[in-house]
Symmetry: C2
Subunit: 345 residues, 2 copies
Amino acid sequence: MKKEDRHQKAIQEIQAIRSKNLQANELANDLIGGSLSTLAQCITLTESSVPSDRKKAQEILQLVQPRAGKSIRIGISGVPGAGKSTFIEAFGVWLCEQGHKVAVLAVDPSSETGKGSILGDKTRMHELAARPDAFIRPSPSSGNLGGVARKTRESIYLCEASGFDVILIETVGVGQNETTVHGMVDVFVLISVAGTGDELQGIKRGITELADIVLVNKADGSNLPMAKAARQDMVRAFHLMPEKESGWTPQAQLCSALEKTGLSEAWEQIARYQEHTVSNGFFEKHRLDQLNNWLHDYLRDELWDRFLHHQEVQKQFETISKQVVSLKLPVATAAEQLLNIYNKD
Amino acid sequence: MKKEDRHQKAIQEIQAIRSKNLQANELANDLIGGSLSTLAQCITLTESSVPSDRKKAQEILQLVQPRAGKSIRIGISGVPGAGKSTFIEAFGVWLCEQGHKVAVLAVDPSSETGKGSILGDKTRMHELAARPDAFIRPSPSSGNLGGVARKTRESIYLCEASGFDVILIETVGVGQNETTVHGMVDVFVLISVAGTGDELQGIKRGITELADIVLVNKADGSNLPMAKAARQDMVRAFHLMPEKESGWTPQAQLCSALEKTGLSEAWEQIARYQEHTVSNGFFEKHRLDQLNNWLHDYLRDELWDRFLHHQEVQKQFETISKQVVSLKLPVATAAEQLLNIYNKD
């Protein structure tokens, strides 16, 4: 679906809610009942910038929250070309066949600017998108990683309340996005490919430090020996890395999204990770930490937003920042003045 | 100097100021007069967490600011082992010999935790440290990059007002630090070495994207052919990169900090960069943008700080965040409640 079409669809969804004048509790009930169209509508509400929509979204979140939290949240990342989408399609279909309900959410702040690839697009995942037990949602469009992160976190809760027990959160392999996604998932899976020379560089460079499980994709045909070697290199590197807070030693496995091999092994590994971290208490602790961080991030963003929209601050901001850029006022003094205006009332 | 000694020295400096009861205007005059001990004392004041010290520091900054801004601010980064310190020592001494006054500031948020290498240590730069026309200041100790950045920005102004016309800002080669230092300098120099296999990886990975000038260090002895090849690779890569906002095509050059070669060529390149960006207006625009960003960062940090220290917020924070982690309250609703407490008075 093109961006304009998605935008159009979001408007239609919100209009549907408004025209039916559905209350938060009705929407929450439909959502819990498993209605995918209601789920889509509720996510659209959380993504809306209209205050009344956001308010309704919060009411729904509060109502459904007791039913949320009962999924495994899996972050999936990898450099472009590693085959993330193909893997998610194959893995998602396989999971559905095992009786799971699978939601795919994407985090890609660049999608609005048109520079990056738009992720989570249903057109890339025909087979998965066609299943009634799967739900695919593209990245909320917003230039700002903080905004995208907030909306995605809320979407996770809505999907869980709607009965999805596996949440796949896809992101592109560019540093900051990964850290953000890492902050909202239980387990982080990196899709890698052999032969790009990136494997060990990646490990050195830190992105792989986030990974709990690395899947060396495209382990098929003539690629297989190279993939095996890459996996060996990773296993060795993992053993040299400092121990993670989770107490888990990262694992590297082979898979082929194309030939649909290594999927059950990947799931087994994720299950092993969950077992390990649930039993040592890290799983629960990690989720609590994430909630606390989310609250902090939210407060920081919202404080800044309120400050910028404060009437008197808005009046004075330009004058004072002009004095700063003309070097008449040191930054700290200028900040002090603006903060005193804000805190006066 | 060890960390404890530095801490001791800072206390002595502040006590000296207090015991002499020197007013901001006296300190500002001494600073402008070129007293290095006063410069050190003033920097210590900006780094102090005592409100009256910070207040005096701001008064000094306001008094000396008209004399600041007349230097070239050069960011210097590179992976550990690239020879940053050796280069800065050699380059700094060479610049002093040409009649410049050189200040070296370090940005290394990790220095407090003891994990990273403590930068800007005078013991590593004997020759430069001994010169009366050089000033070396280690990284302000603080676990927080924002705090370190603020203090370093203020130190730049103090050094400039004190007559230093070349400010070298050293940082370790780890992503986030570089971006921060990039936000406070006019030109960004990357020290690189051949043969680590990092050259092109670095270019792919984005750190090198910040660089205006790359110096391939250790271009001496048997290393020379490899350094030349690495330089060629970089030049090619730079031509494939999208044009920078500055309109400047990054340059790669050879140097040997050990044999003190390539130093005048490095300076020439920096001068060419300055000429280029001054004439197309980018230099000025960039500095104004930096001041605006600085003001924004400062305001955001300070807002958060005031919020956290608000009496009523402090009282309620724990109760409300407990409701969040027990999933009784959605994050946005909890944030709303806390913000309303804060904004009530």
